[in-house]
Amino acid sequence: MSWKWLTRIITTYWPMFLRGAGMTLYISIIGTIIGSIIGLLIGTIRTIPKPNHGFGRVILKIVNVILTIYVEFFRGTPMIVQATVIYYGALLFMGIDMNRNFAAIFIVSINTGAYIAEIVRGGIISIDQGQFEAAHAIGMNHIKTMWNVILPQVIRNILPAIGNEFVINIKDTSVLNVIAVTELFFQSKSIAGNNFRYFETYFVTSIIYLIMTLTVTRILRLLERRLDGPDNFNVIPGNQMQVQKPESALRRKQHAG
């Protein structure tokens, strides 16, 4: 490795590296967010209690089969193959010439969605049944229960796993170079093709990937801590009430009423 080349590559090609890194981050952030939304929706649909009436039951069954096929297909094939098949398939059979960046986000999103759907399912299963029962007991339906009680807890619990997906996405967007998306790996390939200094170029690339993944991990850790809230709480003074004697509260209530 020559330091001369290393510095020359950095000083000459830094705008290309930066653009590539920007594109990589952009695709993986949007892809992870949309994928998470897909995953949460699928998790919610898959946990709908079986309706009693015939029609709803059939619909739900069909939807569940479709969702299972979706999850199994995208978990069971490599993203590099999915990218090629979807991008060229759309062009060949439907005449759609997708914008490459759109195609990239689309592929990363549905791929991530399939993984996160399973993560969400696990997250929902791990929530105590009592949380569902308490929500139902105050009259919440499935959607309200999920939205107000279950999913906030699920999201907190699966955040490390989503972070994991995010990091994987940052690295795996490199396969999108097969459909010529100008992300970091694609840019590195161009740079190396220019100067024939493969080692030095990809060494810089690897450092950039590492910086991105480490930063993302730290940010997510901070987010988790924020979601957990403070360890302490304030006791509200002024409204002094003897804990053992609610009768005084009742008496006061009667006076007021």
Binding site: A134, G139, K144, R156, F233, N234, P237
Partner: protein, 244 residues
Amino acid sequence: MEKVIDIQHLKKSFGTNEILKDIDFSVNKGEVVCIIGSSGSGKSTLLRCINLLEKPSGGKIIYRGQNILEGRHDIYAYRTKLGMVFQQFNLFNNHDVLSNCVVGQIKVLKRSRKEAEEVAMKYLDVVGMSQYIQAKPKQLSGGQKQRVAIARALSMEPDVMLFDEPTSALDPEMVGEVLTVMKKLAESGLTMLVVTHEMQFAREVADRVVFMDQGVIAEEGTPEEIFNNPKQERTKEFLKRVTR
């Protein structure tokens, strides 16, 4: 007397295991009914059938003249009329104390946040937890959690409060604070249906005591009748076991 809930020929089986066999039973307005009986006698299942957390296998549950097991009854609206207090508290872990009492009012009863918070504070005051509105459930003791759970149920201003062994998961020293709250609620004229192992509580507070055994109501009557002059042999045996 006005019947709030009238249960007729209620049945519940899990597979071939028949838990409730032909239960006839009603709760009158303003009445405190305690259900006692050994574990596995079906008391909790009966309570859970009443608010449809378990789906009954047969029979009728009549609420305000309507059989809610018939047709497409709005079970969500019906459930808001029944306040449920669980053995394991089941406070919403992602909400603080105030929010636990507010979320149902806003999302289900469509009250404004301001109104919901006022109502919640009123009942948190009743249970003596209004100082702790910022606390998360994991920061509270068992007795405190259960008192918040009671306030949460009261905040929906239900017609009947259902208590499913509310003190069974508590440390002995915390049982008292929860029972004190419940006693005061009973005195304020609330309609209450309480599944309990606290015989002293049932004796002091109940208007009527129901003894369940093997999925049927074996005996019911005033606390004096049940505790002092039980007629059935199995009631006597149960009482002998629990009041040693």
